[in-house]
């Protein structure tokens, strides 16, 4: 039911996002959902003239995802949020809060993925 959806892979993600930027698309946000079996769906939402375009990426939650914060600076807070909530790591984040955007050091359970141990916060 999601319109204007393009499937992307880890390899093609940054290239597709760069195309969005060249096309004059505004990055709205992205939505992450745990779909089970250690996988998550990340849907990147872009807007141009009130029309949304969505890039869907399905990832293994234990593998790092390339950060798009180098292309869209505004992605840094969203990527840090997903890192806190889903324990998905992002490579190349321009400002990495080290799983402490929302969470305190003593939190060891990943909030949006029950029974998953959190990575150790950066010192």
């Amino acid at each position: 039911m999601i319109e204007n959806q393009i499937d992307v892979t880890l390899e093609s993600l940054v290239g597709e996002v760069s195309k969005m930027k060249s096309d004059g698309q505004r990055m709205v946000t992205f939505s992450c959902t745990n779909i089970g079996d250690g996988k998550a769906d990340i849907i990147y939402h872009f807007d141009k003239n009130e029309v949304l375009t969505n890039l869907r990426l399905t990832v293994d939650m234990d593998k790092p995802v390339p950060s798009i914060s180098g292309v869209y600076f505004a992605a840094l807070l969203i990527e840090n949020e997903i890192q806190d909530q889903f324990d998905i790591k992002f490579e190349g984040l321009v400002l990495d809060f080290g799983r402490k955007l929302y969470l305190d050091d003593e939190v060891t359970i990943i909030p949006m993925c029950n029974n998953t141990k959190a990575m150790k916060p950066k010192k």
Binding site: T29, I43, E50, F73, A74, Y102, L103
Partner: protein, 358 residues
């Protein structure tokens, strides 16, 4: 020149809610700003695991008090679209009326707070006095001043009588008259202009690149407003986004001021076109599928991503609030400003930490 790091917040007189910004300053000029969140994060999205999709309406209303009605409207229209429920036209008009009343009282609240931030307490009092008229309408028509709880999946749970509509029109007209009486002060007063013009400039390109939303985006000359998507009754209402080109604190406050008057007009248009009929459609079954739905809140575009799998508990409710989107643009506004202007600039994005820390 030696660099000093000055913490702004989490407790600060201009912020009723905790937001922390580390300011790197050189000779009282801000060089860099680094935000810190999470002081009051509530994890409301997680509640979708233990609250069914009807109960989630009460949860999303509490994402933010000031725009509670618009949160629940956005959520309900998402669920309705997934389930294929056709909402009665009267309910769509009623939603429009309450959502624009929310925008009015939110902007009036902000205009007062903004005046207070640069030390104009008399102006603060005037805006908040006018705002009470809108709060009284909320209380009289829904039973609550802030969290109105009128939206349900399929429509609304309260109706407006013709007498109520007449009274709302009269109160809105009075509010407009009173707002216009102080228009010159907020838009032309020397102190206001000196503290806001050319301060915290966000160019059109920066606003777009940094993902700004709402009056922050429109104050930088971008005509983006989710009401153009024609949700609720906006397909039958005459509406044009309000845009100011300068990108400074003055432009953002002017957008909000003009939008307050525009919302009054939208309320009047919606009451004039209010059709007869039911106020809610029956809702059977559970949502299955995924949807992205957007509305325009007082602070800007709000996006809900909802995913259900035919159970009463949703798989995912993702809420992107406008203040969360406006934090990166804030980081672009702060460098090269004077330390004394930081509170005014931060307030100029109308930060709602309740929304951000959903």
């Amino acid at each position: 020149m030696a660099r000093t790091i000055i913490p702004f917040g989490p407790q600060h007189p201009v912020l009723p809610e905790p937001l922390h910004v580390k300011l790197v300053v050189e000779d009282e000029i801000v060089q860099e700003a680094i935000p810190a969140l999470g002081y009051v994060h509530r994890g409301l999205e997680k509640l979708a695991e233990i609250r069914d999709y009807h109960q989630m309406i009460q949860v999303v209303e509490r994402v933010c008090g000031i725009c509670s009605n618009i949160h629940s409207m956005c959520y309900c229209q998402g669920i309705e679209e997934i389930m294929g429920i056709e909402v009665p036209r009267r309910a769509e008009y009623l939603r429009t009326i309450w959502s624009e009343l929310h925008r009015m009282h939110s902007h009036l609240l902000w205009l007062g707070l903004f005046a207070d931030a640069f030390g104009f307490e008399a102006l603060f009092m005037q805006f908040w006095r006018i705002r009470e008229r809108i709060m009284d309408i909320n209380e009289a028509t829904t039973g609550s001043r802030v969290i109105t709880s009128v939206n349900v999946v399929g429509g609304v749970r309260q109706d407006l009588t013709p007498e109520m509509c007449s009274w709302i029109l009269s109160e809105v007209d009075t509010a407009v008259k009173e707002i216009k009486e102080i228009q010159n002060t907020i838009l032309s007063d020397y102190t206001v202009c000196a503290r806001t013009k050319g301060v915290g400039v966000l160019t059109k390109e920066q606003a777009y690149d940094f993902g700004a939303a709402g009056p922050t985006l429109r104050g930088s000359g971008v005509a983006s407003d989710m009401r153009l998507l024609k949700y609720a009754a906006f397909d039958k209402i005459d509406f044009e986004p309000i845009v100011e080109p300068d990108g400074d604190c003055y432009a953002r406050s002017t957008v909000r001021f003009r939008e307050t008057l525009q919302s009054a007009d939208l309320v009047k248009q919606a009451i004039a076109g209010l059709p007869q009929g039911d106020i809610a459609a029956p809702c059977k079954g559970n949502p299955e599928g995924e949807i992205i739905t957007r509305v325009e809140q007082p602070r800007g575009e709000c996006l809900y991503y909802i995913k259900g799998s035919g159970k009463k508990f949703l798989d995912r409710v993702r809420i992107r609030t406008p203040t969360f989107a406006n934090i990166p643009p804030l980081l672009a506004m702060l460098p090269n400003c004077e330390l004394a202007d930081v509170p005014v600039i931060i307030l100029s994005i109308d930060p709602c930490i309740s929304c951000t820390e959903r």
